[in-house]
């Protein structure tokens, strides 16, 4: 290590359920260069100081969605957050807020996965088509209706940002709602009515208090807050239509 090597202090919230009663903080002094991400800082600790430090990661390029954590209290992908932007101050990293901690920086995502599965995140064809008939035709206008909402990488930073999810873990939440909206808006899909039940349910959009922090932290500009709010309007319309139609607006 050269004398000019810069050292940053990384404070990590550690928790091992087999040996710790509660989470505690440990500080590591990590030599770094300007191109090093927070993820690389964590890797340095694991490789050189303590192999038991536990975190999820894979692609290193902000597309696999594995490496979200609270960095100085803000939900971020650690692979695209750089140590240089915090130096010379100490940087703190913790597991994503609002999720149960499994170990160190790893949180329990099973609840999120169940939500994602519950919204029927697949094309329910508006009209069937064989492979021999080729692709569905989708005009640029139709394409633009939904494309933004396909960009979600399931990193769940928006859940770590959502105060309502913090209060009610059953709330379907921003990412799952954005995905629901993505399929509803796709011209190939005819499943919107089936999905509407979930939108208006107790776990649905009316939990949202329109803080908008979810969209602010989204690393892929999906704007899940917008998806939630569009569905609030749709759900309200649906509610009033129930009084007009004997079958209800969504049935």
């Amino acid at each position: 290590m050269s004398e000019s090597q810069k050292i940053i202090e990384i404070e990590v919230l550690r928790y091992n359920p087999e040996s710790d009663k509660e989470p505690h903080r440990e500080v590591y002094k990590v030599p770094f260069s300007d191109d090093m991400s927070v993820l690389q800082g964590a890797q340095y600790i694991k490789d050189n100081f303590d192999g038991s430090l536990t975190f999820r990661w894979s692609c290193r390029m902000a597309i696999c969605g594995s490496c979200g954590m609270m960095i100085n209290g803000i939900p971020k992908l650690s692979c695209e957050t750089f140590l240089r932007d915090y130096y010379p101050n100490r940087i703190s990293i913790e597991a994503m807020a609002h999720f149960p901690i499994e170990k160190d920086l790893v949180v329990d995502l099973s609840g999120f996965i169940e939500k994602l599965e519950s919204i029927q995140p697949y094309i329910i064809p508006r009209e069937a088509r064989t492979l021999e008939q080729g692709e569905y035709i989708q005009s640029p206008a139709q394409f633009n209706e939904y494309i933004q909402f396909t960009s979600c990488i399931n990193c769940t930073l928006c859940y770590a940002a959502c105060p309502q999810f913090g209060l009610n873990p059953d709330f379907i939440g921003p990412a799952a709602m954005a995905l629901l909206h993505r399929y509803n808006m796709d011209s190939r899909d005819g499943g919107a009515e089936q999905r509407m039940q979930l939108v208006t349910s107790e776990e649905g959009v009316f939990n949202c208090s329109a803080v908008g922090y979810c969209s602010e932290v989204c690393p892929k500009h999906v704007d899940p807050g917008n998806a939630v709010n569009i569905n609030k309007i749709n759900a309200a319309k649906d509610y009033f239509l129930r009084f007009l139609s004997p079958k209800g607006g969504s049935k």
């Binding site: 087999e18 597309i63 696999c64 170990k103 599965e117």
Partner: protein, 596 residues
């Protein structure tokens, strides 16, 4: 130990594994499928593929063209009957994905659009901006949720496959969150664990790309085929190795050296073209472009960057911000975030990095390995379509075409195979558990995993890089043998059960060392230059007399692998000079004339 009884177990939940799972489910909804993945499926490395997936689309294109591009691109080491099937199925599978919701980029009239890619005669790469793999993976994952017969084992790590009575009949997995073992019994086992490029130092790959399934099949006596062929992608971010897609060049990007000179014209890819021209200049195949970089560096014509090392420039500036944001949004953001550059204003420093494992678990054209009941698909497999050099955008299509084939074949096998001997399987699984637990509980070791890994990746880069020589390859073989010994003396810091990634990383390193040995020994044995395997020590030419053959590496416990040579299936394309640019066009015309 928990026991789960399935009909088909699939190890690996990326594009290939998910496509196979859907195929099994559609064959027969009564078949129970266990889909094992060490990450949530949508984290699999398919997610990072950028450029697109090849399949004939335009009226000016043909299966014949796609076939010849692929076989020539693979330097005639492809299984030609398998390539014929592949190119015919490609458009159907890509259309299937469209029906499932994949947001392929479109033309103004609403049809799926295609872009140019390296080594392809006609534009035939279906793309979803520059996040094609991301969209393919998420579409498949989300679609898989429709099928109740697919039971996912997310964040479960496979430590072995089970072989009984000459058949593969299951897998042993660890639930990462608890450290508990499960035996999954199944009549068919599909391995879909992806590549092994992380055995090299600078790569485009995610941390999970550790060759797990390759090592497992190999240890059970299945050959790893053509492992010496490792693809260097020519345009990667220096140091991290992150990928700048070939689509950058398909859309019109230039590669220039320190003099601002488009140097590819000096390497049989010219003459210079203003606009992207298929199979010319920047649209040459990846092996040739990475090799050209090597020689530019030798000639002192690369740019010497103070922190990044030797680089050339990927110049996209003339394409303009609006076009770049539409076609290459991820590339734009990566350049901004990771390099502090604006690609509309600044050229991007790049150099080659390890990207793809052409070889893998040897299978027949129906994805069946030599061990009955075992199938392999995707990057971990060698079904035979890539030969000595893969063309960009063939591998995403491969996941779909052969994922489906393997699913159908595994379903057939599961329905016809006799029930297994559960007691014997359990006994084996318990022995596996003991062996794997011993690695964690042992004490007194002094080698750090990270140190062995670092030495391995450096040695692979030194000995098995873009150009290879006997002496350095031998040094790598020796180094790997040494690391194999030292691995016995590793120490694992973490002794806990919950989320013990220290332990799992050690198991991965064990896999990596086996796969690295298969690569290095296959490489030193191939005394010729072909595709991505290029030598500078007297074997600079392709040698069809002795090496128009597949390499097959067989595992030998405690020693170097045994390397054998296997036949190559040739149907309609006899080996010829592999030429691009103007020379390629001339050769094409001559071939056509001779057929008239």
């Amino acid at each position: 130990m928990e026991i789960f009884k399935a009909d088909v177990v699939i190890v690996g939940g990326g594009g290939a594994g998910l496509r196979a799972a859907i195929a099994v489910a559609e064959c027969d909804p009564k078949l129970k499928i266990a889909l094992v993945s060490k990450v949530y499926p949508m984290r699999s490395h398919t997610v990072a593929a950028e450029g697109g997936a090849a399949g004939v689309k335009k009226p000016t294109d043909s299966f014949e063209y796609h076939f010849h591009d692929t076989v020539g691109g693979g330097d005639w080491l492809c299984e030609q009957d398998v390539v014929e099937y592949f190119v015919e199925q490609a458009p159907l599978e890509l259309t299937q994905l469209e029906h499932w919701g994949c947001p392929w980029s479109r033309t103004e009239d609403g049809h799926v659009n295609v872009r140019a890619f390296g080594g392809m005669k006609i534009e035939r790469t279906w793309f979803a901006a520059d996040k094609s793999g991301f969209h393919i993976l998420h579409t498949l994952f989300q679609t898989s949720i429709k099928y109740p017969s697919i039971k996912r084992f997310d964040e479960h790590f496979c430590v072995d496959i089970l072989e009984e009575d000459g058949r593969c009949q299951g897998a042993v997995v660890i639930e990462m969150g608890t450290g508990e073992f499960t035996m999954i019994e199944a009549k068919s086992v599909i391995i879909a664990t992806g590549g092994a490029g992380r055995v090299f130092r600078e790569s485009t790959l995610g941390g999970i790309v550790t060759g797990d399934g390759m090592a497992l099949a190999y240890r059970h006596g299945v050959a790893l085929r053509d492992m010496e062929f490792v693809q260097y992608h020519p345009t990667c971010m220096p140091v991290t190795g992150l990928l700048f897609t070939e689509a950058c060049r398909g859309e019109g990007g230039y590669l220039v050296n320190k003099d601002g000179y488009r140097y590819l014209q000096d390497y049989g890819l010219g003459p210079l073209q203003d606009k992207p021209k298929n199979k010319y200049m920047e649209l040459g195949p990846r092996d040739r472009l990475s090799q050209a970089f090597f020689f530019e560096q030798q000639k002192g014509r690369t740019i010497e960057h103070p922190t990044l090392g030797s680089v050339v420039h990927l110049d996209l500036r003339h394409l303009g911000e609006a076009y770049l944001r539409e076609r290459l949004p991820l590339i734009y953001e990566m350049a901004e975030t990771f390099m502090g550059l604006d690609p509309a204003k600044d050229p991007i420093p790049v150099r080659p990095g390890v990207h793809y494992t052409m070889g893998g678990i040897k299978t027949d054209g129906k994805c069946a390995a030599s061990l009955k009941g075992l199938y392999a698909i995707g990057e971990c497999s060698s079904v035979g379509i890539h030969g000595a050099n893969r063309l960009g955008s063939n591998s995403l299509t491969e996941l779909l075409v052969f994922g489906k084939v393997a699913g159908v074949e595994a379903a057939k096998n599961a329905k016809s195979a006799a029930p297994g001997n559960s007691a014997a399987l359990l006994k084996q699984a318990q022995a596996v558990e003991q062996r794997v637990m011993a690695l964690k509980t042992k004490t007194g070791g002094s080698e750090r995993i990270s140190v062995i890994r670092k030495e391995m990746t450096q040695s692979m880069e030194d000995g098995c890089g873009i150009y290879r020589m006997e002496k350095t390859m031998q040094a790598t073989c020796d180094k790997l043998a040494e690391l194999r010994e030292r691995f016995k003396n590793i120490s694992i810091d973490d002794k806990s059960s919950v989320w013990n990634t220290d332990w799992l990383t050690a198991i991965e390193l064990d896999y990596q060392l086996d796969v690295a040995q298969a690569m290095a020994h296959s490489a030193i044995n191939r005394k010729e230059s072909r595709g991505a395997h290029q030598r500078l020590d007297g074997y600079e030419q392709r040698d069809d007399v002795n090496f128009l053959k597949h390499s097959e590496a067989y595992y030998v416990a405690g020693a170097a692998p045994r390397i054998a040579l296997g036949d190559v299936k040739i149907t309609k394309s006899q080996p010829a000079a592999r030429v691009y640019g103007a020379a390629g066009e001339k050769a094409d015309q001559e071939r056509k004339a001779s057929h008239v």
